[in-house]
């Protein structure tokens, strides 16, 4: 069938194209330019070639930050995804309590990142914070400003507190979209609770769960504000994640060249991971529609 297509409408996206070029494409090109030049500000640039990339690729500082970042993302995914599913499964399906639960779950998501950091910063303090003071009273030696393990635990608990709701709400939406007929069929077959979860709920939630994992991965992989406010990357470098390190390098030390090379590599990793997730998601959609 031959349809005549009028492609003139494409010209209508020109303004968007210009805005995107000005706000995204040209800045990205600028980062590439920074990455192969040395600069001390004042619009003065000196050619550096691949020097910064060579330095960054071999930099143990970057390797350590990347390692911490991957560990952090892995830990929070391993906690938040199962916990979110568990909460969603136990939330009431209808009635007033369903609305109450939804609002309660949405609350942490509404709090600005720096406020979350501040809340936990004070909450965990041994002198005035409820958590820190209580732990000290029970006799647990807890101090997130001195002890790397305590700092890690606090950052992880903070992220779980802040973001598990997102996984729970997405899973809840996925669960609500399962028609009752599936559950009735399962009851007729006398399926166990586990079998219902494994063969009905989990497959039906697959799509939203992938989105949840993607969102949580991306967010945790570029996390900055909360650990910055809570620990400032310390003690030492123990909670210095990639973006904290990047900002230290770019703005703290004004090493714009290495920082640009660093951020380009960071960008490539994020691009790769997003592409993998996107591909998996779209191929799942296709399988379902077949």
């Amino acid at each position: 069938m031959d349809k005549t297509q009028n492609n003139k409408a494409w010209f209508l996206v020109l303004p968007v194209l210009l805005v995107v070029a000005f706000s995204a494409v040209i800045p990205l090109m600028t980062v590439v330019n920074y990455a192969i030049n040395d600069t001390f500000g004042n619009n003065q640039f000196f050619w550096a070639g691949l020097e910064w990339f060579e330095e960054m690729v071999a930099s143990s500082r970057l390797h350590d930050a990347l390692g911490r970042q991957i560990l952090f993302s892995a830990i929070i995914l391993a906690i938040e995804v199962p916990l979110g599913i568990y909460i969603a499964l136990n939330m009431p399906k209808k009635g007033a309590w369903a609305s109450v639960c939804l609002v309660l779950m949405a609350l942490p998501l509404l709090i600005p990142f720096n406020v979350v950091g501040t809340i936990w910063q004070i909450f965990g303090r041994v002198d005035i914070g409820l958590l820190g003071h209580t732990l000290a009273a029970i006799g647990i030696d807890y101090n997130y400003t001195n002890d790397p393990i305590d700092a890690w635990a606090t950052v992880i608990v903070m992220d779980v507190w802040h973001w598990t709701s997102l996984v729970a709400l997405l899973s809840y939406a996925g669960l609500q979209s399962i028609p009752q007929a599936y559950y009735q069929a399962a009851r007729i077959d006398q399926a166990s609770r586990w079998a219902v979860f494994r063969y009905i709920e989990l497959p039906k939630m697959q799509g939203v769960l992938l989105i949840a994992v993607l969102l949580r991965f991306m967010d945790s992989f570029m996390i900055y504000t909360e650990p910055f406010v809570l620990t400032g990357g310390g003690p030492g470098n123990s909670t210095t994640f990639l973006s904290i390190d990047l900002v230290k390098m770019a703005i703290g030390q004004f090493d714009l060249g290495p920082a640009a090379a660093f951020s380009l590599m960071y960008f490539l990793v994020i691009l790769l991971v997003s592409w993998v997730f996107y591909t998996v998601m779209t191929s799942l959609d296709r399988q379902e529609s077949r």
Binding site: N33, N37, N43, L271, L272, S283
Partner: protein, 135 residues
Amino acid sequence: MTATRWTPIYLGLAALMAAILALLLWAVPITEEGAREWTGQLIPGFWMAWTFPVALFFWVIASLLILMTLLAIRFPETPRIGVLRIETTRGDRLFISLLGSAFIHLGWLFFIGTPAFWGALILSLVYAAAVFRWV
């Protein structure tokens, strides 16, 4: 559209890109000894001090995008499933090639360093050819 109407479009876009490249080459500053300073600023004093290598890099990517757009309009294709077991179109394969090439270059820097850096380019071209053939 018929083939005869495509020829002016091809020629026009090719001329445009060639003109841009010529302009960039013309803008490369010349030192006092008369040699071209390839890493010099194209427009002295301009914002961000753009140099020829960066301009060439983006020129190549822009040319690839224009070429692939033309191909996609003239020869629409159906996605196929390759060795990765995912559906890909030509555009997807270009994306995989470019992203993979970036990682190949970084890997070369990590394992070998700057000596024989053109090796990474050759490796990337081989990789891109493989992606377009089998993915």
